[in-house]
Symmetry: C2
Subunit: 341 residues, 2 copies
DNA sequence: TTGTATGCGTTATCAC
DNA sequence: GTGATAACGCATACAA
């Protein structure tokens, strides 16, 4: 059996409370007994049982991270930031993967609640009523949601302004002279924010360009989905000269497919994605894209969560802006000449 | 405050122990009182406090996952498999990122021990003495290491036979007719397994090819490192006609650099990587590589860990074989003609 | 400065 | 069938 504080106390010939004091650096303790206790700790290789400590103090110093798909490089970069920020503050993180399924989400969150996490960073609020309700509770974990929706989910949310991101992306294409711009869209349904679609539409509207609904095809955010969608879009005549995709994974597939059928990117087809995953920056891909501040998102969410736990004042609603990263997949218009790069 | 079993018992007018019985389905309980208790549970929205349960039962049903870099797609795919396998068995997973630093590793593992995880999946045994020692302990978490080293680390290990993987990769290049094959190697130092280097050397030996040490340059497994290494290697004359890299990230950079300076891949320079991260399979990259069975690795490690916890008999040393995935970055030799693809 | 005693929410071992 | 009660390992209010 692992040593307990009792063993330490016995070996050092002091009461448990005294041992506890030196271990936690709390209250008065003479140098002499402190030394004895420290010696005993060393000898027994004692590590405090934080389960017992948690039970007593009603704080586990751990937080849950709920994501759609940790295997996806986008989420894993956010997770990295969360883990780091948490560790720096002495918290550990329990990982829950939802695979985008409401049932797994519910079970996962239940588990986190049972495990008494102090807080949850929720980047997959599929069932937003659940999140809403949980964060309303007076007891239980503090909930911080990360979302592209404009309306906050729960009481503490990190909002990424997807609408503006999409708007800027499409504006960029319009400034380059494109007028027929296809959109590989986010999936339909209440569990998916539709802000990127809104941004796309607003951009066309403000430029007084017509909206051709057959140029908008729903994707699934997954590998394989971009390919299906672009095929559908390219059935239209005249062909669109540009494509905006709701995420990079689908955008990259669109580029690949276009090249397979003999279209040059960006000369024949300009492509802009969303997310800025590592892949987007590689030579040979060079995808222009709306960069989400992944590291910041994870970091800000964690900071907000922990400062709330510590009851420091902290903003409850933080908006982060994505930014357009221009690479070679959309070319640029030289004055008086054709689109090139 | 959240409801406790005490509240449930009170509301249902039974003793705590009775409430506990129905909640855990243990021991005899009349249908009538069972119903009353269940009603109370529902009414109070009671969730058992698993911290208290853990303290009593000395089992937390959670396990630690220690990785070098969760932001790296390679590790995140392994993590995904671990999370899934764990959840399916009722375990949750605590994530620890080491950033490849021995100190963070030690702190992280200490934390996991303090949090009383039942087991640790350790895919970053930088300090293998630490792992060795921890897994020797009679008490404390069960340790399962994942490693490319031939010698087991600790008592339970998932071994990926990197040596054979590298051997096969280089053999493939040799069969294609290459005789000057550069190697962007794993970093030096005791914390890095050198099995890939061994495989590379053995392959040359068995083919009776000379080993030119100026064609072997250490990389760092990171972004940026592949570029530096390939530059170094390409200073040699005559130029090598093929490059093997210890991971895909570096291999991809090698391809990029080669193209920048006007070398065609694979015609002028064949390239083979190691890992098979998602990126490798993309059109435009098409990297031939040694595929690590990422999903299997995570799954097998988790299974081994949990079955050990349940004291079922289970193999303590599992070897997994990587497999060569042939894509376009190394070309192929047509009989009687030049290397092409 | 140190020790005693209580309780955190459970489970499990007893009696009844 | 059911109900007291001890214990898990620790922190802490209070006494000494």
């Amino acid at each position: 059996m692992a040593a307990t504080i009792k063993d330490v106390a016995k070996l050092a010939n002091v009461a448990i409370s005294t041992a506890s004091r030196v271990i936690n650096n709390s209250g008065y303790v003479s140098d002499e007994t402190r030394a004895r206790v420290e010696q005993a700790v060393k000898e027994l290789d004692y590590t405090p049982n934080s389960i017992a400590r948690s039970l007593k103090q009603k704080s586990t110093y751990s937080l849950g991270l709920v994501v759609t798909d940790i295997g996806n490089p986008f989420f894993s970069e956010v997770a990295q930031a969360v883990e780091r920020a948490a560790r720096e503050q002495g918290y550990s993180v329990l990982l829950v993967n939802t695979d985008g399924k409401a049932e797994q989400e519910r079970d996962g969150v239940d588990l986190l609640v049972a495990k008494q996490v102090d807080g949850i960073i929720w980047y997959s609020p599929i069932n937003s009523k659940l999140a809403e309700e949980l964060s309303q509770r007076k007891s239980g974990p503090v909930i911080v949601t990360i979302t592209g929706r404009r309306e906050p989910i729960g009481t503490h949310t990190i909002h990424i302004n997807d609408e503006i991101g999409a708007f800027e992306a499409v504006n960029h294409l319009i400034r380059l002279g494109h007028t027929r711009i296809g959109y590989i869209a986010e999936p339909e349904g209440p569990e998916y924010p539709q802000e990127r679609l809104h941004g796309y539409l607003r951009s066309l509207q403000e430029a007084k360009l017509p909206v051709d609904h057959s140029l908008i095809v729903r994707g699934d955010y997954q590998q394989g989905g971009g390919r299906k969608a672009i095929k559908e879009i390219l059935k239209n005549r005249p062909l669109p000269t540009a494509i905006f995709a709701a995420n990079d994974l689908m955008a990259v597939e669109a580029i690949q497919y276009a090249r397979e059928i003999g279209l040059e990117v960006p000369q024949d087809l300009a492509v802009v994605g969303f997310d800025d995953i590592m892949l987007a920056g590689l030579r040979g891909i060079d995808l222009t894209t709306v960069a989400q501040p992944k590291y910041e998102m994870g970091q800000e969410a964690t900071k907000l969560l922990i400062s709330t736990l510590k009851k420091e004042k902290a903003s409850r609603y933080i908006t982060l802006l994505p930014s357009l990263v221009i690479r070679r997949s959309c070319g640029y218009r030289l004055k008086g000449s054709a689109v090139s790069w």
